[in-house]
């Protein structure tokens, strides 16, 4: 995964969130939200607390089914797809509070990302057939490459539970990348990181987009990070999309300013 110049990859497709409404009982979490993540862009989804960012993220990743509206990746409708099929469709995601197996090693955790790219059940694994072992070796090599890209390849044999938070966060992203996504969903990649780590994370996100030419959609609280790396920013407030544009445009948008100041000014958390 050397940083080759970004090429336009034909398999990277537009993610279109199209008129999505999500209701829980009487509460409307998302209301007619539409935006598009263009191929090869870093797209940030921001908004004050409770604006519906997480709900939107969970709709895209298939955990919630929208009340109405569609989510499409290229020509594929993701709305009716079971969430476990998204990995195979090229959607990788990381988690806000690191959802790794603490007792398993870094390598083992990242290898899980290869699940949809590999086959084999109890017997092929249990019998350690030469073919299985060969395939496994190939995937291990790729996983180690990805870990090297994220700078965690010196901890491959360490159980994730023994890692500092910042490192575990990168392992989580490595696992999402192991899916070989064309669209990478990052749920608050800088949450819980200190300033240095946040800056490093920003660089990493740009780098991996440049190297792989994939699209990245991130939900993030850290405005510095968002404005520094995003090509495009969508802003949610009370479940509505109130702005969608370049970082500069969004920052100048009076409605965005009002939304942030109106809910208590400073970034929560």
């Amino acid at each position: 995964m050397t940083a080759a110049p970004a090429e336009i990859r034909e398999d990277v497709r537009t993610l279109a969130v199209d008129d999505v409404t999500l209701r829980f009982g009487g509460i409307t979490a998302l209301s007619e939200v539409s935006f598009a993540v263009r191929p090869g862009t870093v797209h940030a989804l921001i908004g004050p607390n409770g604006a519906g960012k997480s709900s939107c993220f969970n709709v895209i990743s298939g955990l919630y089914r929208p009340t109405s509206g569609r989510v499409r990746l290229g020509d594929t409708d993701l709305t009716g797809t079971s969430p476990h099929r998204l990995a195979a469709l090229g959607v990788g995601r990381s988690f806000q509070n690191i959802a790794l197996s603490p007792h398993s090693t870094v390598r083992d955790n990242v290898l899980l990302g290869r699940h949809a790219l590999t086959r084999g059940g109890f017997f092929s694994g249990g019998l350690r057939l030469p073919r299985t072992v060969r395939t496994e070796r190939r995937h291990v090599a790729r996983v180690e490459e990805i870990c090297a890209f994220l700078g965690v390849d010196d901890r491959l044999d360490v159980p994730v539970g023994a890692l500092p938070y910042g490192v575990a966060k990168r392992v989580d992203i490595a696992r999402a990348l192991a899916v070989e996504p064309t669209l990478l969903l990052l749920d608050e990649p800088a949450a819980g990181l200190n300033a240095t780590e946040t800056a490093e994370m920003g660089v990493t996100i740009r780098d991996l987009r440049d190297a792989l030419g994939i699209s990245v959609l991130l939900v993030e609280h850290d405005m510095g990070l968002v404005m520094g790396i995003a090509d495009r920013v969508s802003v949610l407030d009370f479940g509505r999309l109130i702005a969608d544009g370049s970082p500069a445009e969004v920052q100048a948008d009076p409605e965005v300013i009002r939304a942030y100041l109106g809910t208590g000014g400073e970034e929560p958390e």
Binding site: S101, P102, A162
Partner: protein, 390 residues
């Protein structure tokens, strides 16, 4: 539950894979020696088959516990249904291989014993699969209690379907196991190893040994492979597992199925070991009772949840101890006052494994496996390949 929760400083040097070779040789030598001892076990015991029977019972436990630790420890799903699948395995073998009995009131298909044994394992797997609506949807403890229903159901079915099970009063004899023309029975003349005749009990010992080793290796491989990673992912975080492409419901139901098939094999072995298939009269004492369910769970906990070698160690303790104590009772007259409220082999072993379970949870969640690892690596722990106590 990990033994490594301390956060090492960032500056710590990457773990060195350095002195691997000598340790591996030591390990290979140790394993070889261990296997040779197991193969020669019938020679040591000679004509006294009581020790062989005790050993066979441990091997049954190994098969069942290895199957259970994959479900409980790796996939994070509790099951108390082991005795049910022991029963289904034992009865299936007797039905598939057996005849209709003297009075013709039993169902028996008269299949070759090997086919019947494989069939019994497959049947248990399928029954386990049929439990998928429950096993795939429930989590952890809920599944544990739900699986308890199978033990009660097994008790009822075993009692009421006596054309299959032989009924609680007499049971039915399982057909002698045979591989083609080689029968696992006493024959004249019998082959010998180092002067010891290889008769029925010796043959069963070797059969069980092969089955246990096969079950062990298969499980070990599976735990290190794709399916093992999927199990652990489901155990640790279902949402994350799903995002990585794991079909959570299917993986849970699959783990239950595999564990059921393992228990089914242990059931076939139990039938051959007892030389009898007979359902229990109640749910709390007997070959297929709740006590047995708890015993298997204890093996898995004591060994260290999810650890395959640990499950073996647990089986040795939980199944081996009462057998050894019973042998001691017959040979040295221990427990003479058991009938008058004194300790009995069963009581002492139950105390030992009950206490062991408590101690393991409180002080060493990794169980015997972790203790063993620590002894093997007195230096800083070298993490195992394939991860997660595989």
């Amino acid at each position: 539950m990990s033994e490594v929760t301390v956060t090492p400083p960032e500056t710590e040097a990457p773990p060195t894979p350095a002195p691997r070779r000598p340790r591996n040789w030591l390990k290979i030598a140790g394993v070889t020696l261990f296997l040779v001892l197991l193969v020669l076990f019938p020679v040591f015991t000679g004509t006294d088959v009581a020790y062989l029977k005790a050993g066979q019972y441990v091997l049954i436990g190994v098969v069942g516990a290895v199957g259970l630790t994959m479900l409980v420890g790796q996939a994070g799903q509790l099951s108390l249904a082991t005795p049910f699948f022991l029963l289904v395995g034992a009865v299936s073998y007797a039905v598939l291989a057996g005849d209709s009995g003297d009075s013709g009131d039993l169902v028996g298909l008269g299949l070759p014993p090997v086919v019947a044994a494989v069939g019994a394992v497959v049947i248990c797997g399928l029954v386990g699969l049929a439990f998928a609506p429950v096993s795939g949807r429930l989590r952890g403890i809920y599944l544990g209690v739900a699986s308890l229903s199978l033990v009660f159901l097994g008790l009822y079915l075993g009692q009421s379907l006596d054309m299959l099970s032989g009924g609680t009063s007499t049971g039915r004899p399982p057909p002698t196991f045979a591989i083609f023309d080689f029968r696992f029975a006493n024959t004249e003349p019998a082959p010998t190893i180092l002067g010891v005749a290889v008769q029925k009990q010796q043959r069963l010992w070797y059969l069980f040994l092969v089955l246990a080793i096969g079950a062990y290796l298969l499980a070990r491989g599976a735990v290190r492979s794709r399916i093992g990673r999927a199990w652990r992912a489901v155990r640790d975080n279902e949402a994350a597992a799903t995002a990585m492409g794991v079909h959570v419901t299917r993986v849970k139901a699959g783990a239950f199925t595999i564990s059921s098939a393992y228990a089914g094999l242990a059931g076939v072995m139990t039938a051959l070991w007892l030389d009898l298939v007979k359902p229990d009269e109640n749910e709390f004492v007997g070959t297929y009772s709740i006590t047995v369910a708890i015993g298997y769970l204890a093996m898995v906990i004591i060994g260290g949840l999810g650890s395959i070698p640990g499950a073996v160690a647990g089986a040795v303790l939980v199944n081996g101890l009462p057998q050894l104590l019973t042998l001691g009772a017959t040979e040295f007259g221990w427990f003479a006052d058991a009938r008058f409220g004194g300790p009995s082999p069963v009581l002492i072993s139950a105390f030992v494994y009950g206490v062991a379970v408590v101690l393991v949870v409180m002080f060493e969640p990794g169980g015997l496996a972790a203790i063993g690892r620590r002894l093997a690596h007195v230096r800083a722990a070298r993490p195992t390949r394939g991860g997660d106590r595989g």
